[in-house]
């Protein structure tokens, strides 16, 4: 009997359907990123908020993460070859520590960089991770601890969030509470995105096409990263 390899479970179609539905949902949400950036959120309303308003800020944080195509691309790159929950938690924690530090610190200290530069670095983080996933770093003899790299890029992602929040000129009244709510929202959005991404990647991993497809997927990520970076650099040059 040479049929062992072909013994597919009969619910494969169901899995495939669920996977495609989840992917489609993710794409629909991500495509809204171009229409709804954080700075396009209702500015006058956010500016008019005085005092703690945790839920709207929580929502804005989660929305920024779920609709931010650059953040999603980076997260996909980070968890691409992580299949154990422990590893996912470690890497995501590094990222969270990084961006929480600069988000809270940046807004409270009033520091921010040009948002084009920060977004270009975020785009570069996608290039970096895709390049590493393709085995490129090892090929050129660079051995960077991925956890440190993720932490460093987390710092930049947070700086980008801090810059965007300051562009909104949020009131000082209740700022700390609102910032923390925003940060918690970012985590919630990240968990939502990760849940979908990790489940889809694990489904894919269980199929034969993963090893081959992984290369193309990371090439696609690389291209997306290059696109995001050049787009932001062009924006910076024009501004």
């Amino acid at each position: 009997m040479r049929d062992i390899a072909r013994q597919e479970p009969d619910h494969r179609a169901l899995i495939r359907l669920a996977a495609w539905a989840a992917l489609a949902a993710l794409l629909v949400v991500a495509s809204a990123a171009f229409a709804h950036d954080l700075s396009d959120a209702n500015k006058s309303y956010v500016q008019s908020i005085q005092g703690p308003a945790p839920v709207p800020f929580f929502y804005l944080g989660a929305k920024h993460m779920v609709t931010g195509i650059d953040h999603i691309a980076f997260l996909i790159g980070v968890v691409f070859f992580l299949y154990r929950l422990r590893d996912v938690v470690i890497y995501v924690s590094m990222f969270t520590i990084g961006h929480s530090t600069t988000l809270l610190g940046g807004v409270l200290l009033g520091t921010g960089l040009n948002s084009y530069i920060v977004d270009a670095v975020i785009g570069f983080s996608v290039i970096y991770k895709a390049f590493e996933n393709l085995g490129g770093l090892r090929k050129i003899g660079l051995a960077i601890d991925t956890r440190l790299a993720v932490l460093a890029f987390g710092l930049f992602h947070g700086l980008g969030l801090a810059t965007k929040l300051q562009d909104l000129s949020v009131s000082d009244n209740g700022l700390l509470a609102n910032l923390i709510a925003f940060n918690v929202g970012v985590e919630a959005g990240q968990v939502l995105v990760l849940a979908v991404v990790v489940v889809l990647l694990n489904l894919w991993r269980a199929t034969g096409g993963f090893a081959r497809g992984a290369r193309y997927a990371n090439l696609a990520l690389l291209i997306a990263g290059i696109g995001l970076t050049t787009y932001q650099i062009a924006g910076y040059v024009q501004s």
Partner: protein
């Protein structure tokens, strides 16, 4: 190579039960997020009252007008009376419109007519204002060859620019209305051509104005009234 080294030793597809449970959990989370967060914040649809209680629905509303001049101007109810596009901006129409609103035309106000035309290059803007004393009125009709962005506003002599009041800010190819000056000052329009082709704009007005002024890139210039 990288993949082979860190790929899971044995990746298995989830069982049918896991798929069903997972999908159900995902659908439940998505539904809760939709009902409690996304619908109130994006569309102002708030079936549970959660959005209103937490201020989330504020994200869906337009909030207070960001323009304090417009906010001030819109509080007045007896300044701008829009007319149909077919109304002729002459003395008879002005008297009829004021009578219909129960507004007296101040005695001694000399009514004059004015006609003015301008071509706006792509993205060019200009302002033209009439000098009117408090309570004096005018009827006007302007039209452009393509919709323009405009801000009809007034600057009082007492208070100047900071006390500006706007009465209409929108995009339109024409505006016809009766205007009663809420204060002594200059009263008129900012127009901007927001297209890539030149736009011709013309205005006819009849009213108790005494002079007109133009503001363009080069500054402020008095403009002689030109009767038809």
């Amino acid at each position: 190579m990288t993949q082979a080294e860190i790929a899971p030793p044995q990746a298995t597809l989830p069982s049918k039960r896991q798929v069903v449970i997972g999908s159900a959990v995902a659908a439940a989370v998505a539904t809760l997020a939709l009902v409690f967060f996304v619908l109130p914040a994006e569309l102002g649809v708030d079936p549970t009252g959660f959005g209103k209680a937490t201020g989330l629905t504020g994200l869906a509303t337009n909030g207070p007008p960001a323009n304090i001049y417009l906010e001030r101007g819109l509080k007045r109810t007896n300044v701008l009376f829009p007319l149909g596009a077919s109304a002729v901006p002459d003395e008879a129409a002005l008297r009829a419109a004021l009578a219909a609103k129960g507004i007296a035309l101040p005695a001694g106000a000399r009514l004059v007519t004015d006609h003015w035309e301008i071509e706006l290059l792509p993205y060019e803007n200009i302002e033209m204002k009439y000098r009117l004393a408090q309570g004096r009125s005018m009827i006007f009709a302007w039209k452009s060859s393509a919709p323009v962005h405009y801000d009809m506003h007034s600057v009082p002599d007492q208070g100047g620019n900071p006390m500006t009041e706007s009465f209409a800010i929108t995009d339109a190819p024409a505006q016809t209305a009766v205007y009663v000056a809420p204060f002594t000052g200059i009263h008129g329009w900012f127009w901007q051509n927001q297209t890539l082709s030149p736009v011709t704009l013309s205005i006819d007005a009849t009213g108790a104005f005494t002079s007109a002024v133009i503001f363009n890139q080069a500054g402020e210039h008095p403009r002689g009234l030109q009767s038809r």
